[in-house]
């Protein structure tokens, strides 16, 4: 490994080994000891030791194995001090062997551990926010203060929330296990929903993709651990596609730039190519497969709206909800003309779920303008502007309203 001048290579090695090995270590220690706090403390301790020792002693040949051994020794110490349970001691002793040899059988066990950890952190008996926070803290090793900031709570409040979640896992005995058969099909969507929320949390909190990279890393891990499932792979593709536009989403003033006005040279081509590769021979059909295919159409530049509209038809059949219906109306508007879009929108509004929703008003305004009724469109844009909570969006909508009013005057 080569390092830039003046910066010790050990720092980079620690960061790299940590990203690779942290979840493995925590997951293995939790499986054996059942003690979440002990597992995290020992893993953190191992990282701290690496930071202080590697600069002098050099980076070991197998950094992940080194960290695992140190963490496990630390756990042995603590458990010996508490002087309990032979079984735990025996299993910890065995763990040193698996860390040192890295044999294929051992590897299988460790991989299973991480999957177990993901399913336990995302258990539906925990509150949704606790699931996201626990995943960030325990699997991704994100500092508690950073998790707290994303959820707009104090660090001590987040510490209490995490402790409460870990206490519930122990007290209610939430199993440390990956469900199988029908139970897996029931639980997997919940796990994917946690990852999706984690991905959007960064974007929502302060407009920066704070946790997007963590969500991508986790989706990649999950897709790798569950190669037989299409949805984790599709979720990874969806994340990559959305994240590929991170540099083009905002202009120099930090304002959101809509998809059709983004500078496409700033899209991350490598991420888009990887996502397309993931989707290419995917045979499954699930909500994330359809969403990822829609995102891939948009990432191709000029979207094939007929395909997008067809994909939204299938998504609406699979997962009927007002927001999907709204997007379906927009897609039909581009694919089959504004009147077709308005017809779908009218159907979506019948239940009343979209009443007063600014995006629905803006979509109706746009379709109405393109259908030729510019005076009515201007009114709808103004109504949408009055209802939105985003200042940038309000300005953009009022601009459209003024534009439609000007055109009304020009033609009359």
């Amino acid at each position: 490994m080569t390092a830039p001048e003046g910066r010790h290579p050990a720092d980079a090695a620690v960061a790299e080994a940590a990203a690779e090995a942290y979840a493995r270590i925590v997951a293995a220690l939790i499986r054996i000891t059942g003690d979440w706090t002990l597992a995290e403390d020992c893993a953190q301790e191992a990282l701290a030791q690496a930071l202080s020792r590697w600069p002098e002693s050099g980076v070991p040949g197998n950094p992940g194995g080194w960290l695992m051994t140190v963490a496990r020794n630390r756990a042995l110490d603590q458990i010996r001090r508490a002087s309990v349970e032979r079984r735990k001691l025996r299993e910890l002793a065995l763990l040193a062997l698996t860390a040192a040899t890295d044999g294929p059988v051992a590897e299988e066990d460790v991989v299973d551990d991480r999957l177990r950890l993901i399913f336990t952190c995302c258990h539906p008996a925990l509150a949704m926010e606790a699931r996201v926070a626990l995943t960030l803290r325990t699997i991704c090793a994100v500092p508690t203060r950073d998790v707290a900031r994303a959820f707009l709570v104090s660090e001590s409040a987040m510490t209490r929330r995490l402790t409460r979640a870990k206490t519930k896992i122990a007290d209610a005995r939430i199993p440390y296990r990956v469900p199988s058969g029908a139970a897996l099909a029931e639980r997997l969507p919940g796990v994917l929903a946690v990852l999706y929320l984690l991905f959007t949390t960064g974007y929502d909190a302060d407009g920066e993709p704070a946790f997007a990279a963590e969500a991508i890393r986790l989706a990649r891990l999950l897709a790798g651990l569950m190669p037989g499932e299409g949805e984790p792979r599709a979720l990874l593709a969806l994340f990559l596609l959305q994240h590929s536009r991170r540099d083009a989403r905002r202009d120099a003033d930090g304002e959101l730039v809509p998809l059709d006005r983004q500078d496409r040279t700033r899209w991350d081509r490598a991420a888009i190519a990887e996502a397309n590769g993931l989707l290419r021979d995917l045979r499954h059909t699930g909500p994330y497969v359809l969403q990822a295919r829609i995102a891939a159409c948009h990432a191709a530049g000029d979207a094939d709206w007929r395909t997008v509209a067809r994909l939204y038809d299938r998504l609406a059949a699979l997962q009927p909800n007002p927001v999907v219906e709204l997007n379906r109306a927009v897609a039909h508007g581009y694919a089959h003309g504004p009147r077709a879009g308005l017809a779908v929108l009218a159907g979506a509004r019948a239940g009343g779920a979209l009443d007063g929703y600014p995006l629905a008003l803006a979509a109706e305004a746009d379709l109405t303008a393109r259908a030729g009724d510019r005076a009515r469109a201007a009114g709808l844009f103004r109504e949408a502007a009055a209802r939105t909570h985003s200042e940038a969006e309000r300005r953009a909508l009022l601009e459209r309203a003024a534009e439609e009013s000007r055109r009304t005057e020009a033609t009359s």
Binding site: R31, G34, R87, A172, R173, I174, P175, Y176, R177, P179
Partner: protein
């Protein structure tokens, strides 16, 4: 805690009504079958249905004074109508037991581990 293979947990399952029952028209599971199967599997230790809440009496002692009043202790639309004491390996097993109970559809079930003060 990592459960060792033989250890089991006790869960109290409160059987409650709910203001929004299931709208699915599929047949409800038979409660007698549920009881017989869970008893046979060793997952249910005991359980009872309770008399209506109109028969409930609340007892408190404050400053040495006995206060007896009519009705359940909270104003709530969800009434506890029975309970079952379960014995399961973990929460997932208890959830599966609860899901098969007819009141999971017409009402709601609250599963609480029985506190273990020996730990």
């Amino acid at each position: 805690m990592k459960p060792n293979e033989e250890s089991v947990m006790k869960y109290m399952m409160f059987v409650c009504t709910d203001t929004e029952p299931d709208t699915d028209t599929a047949d409800y599971p038979d409660i007698d079958v549920w009881v017989a199967e869970r008893d046979a599997a060793g997952q249910r230790l005991q359980g009872m249905a309770l008399a209506p809440e109109t028969a409930a009496t609340t007892v408190r002692v404050r400053d040495g004074e006995l206060l007896v009043s009519d009705g359940p202790f909270t104003e709530t639309k969800e009434i506890i109508v029975g309970f079952d004491l379960l014995e399961c390996a973990d929460l997932d097993e208890a959830i599966e037991v609860a899901r098969a109970h007819p009141m999971a559809r017409s009402g709601r079930l609250e599963i609480r581990p029985v506190a273990d003060f020996e730990q």
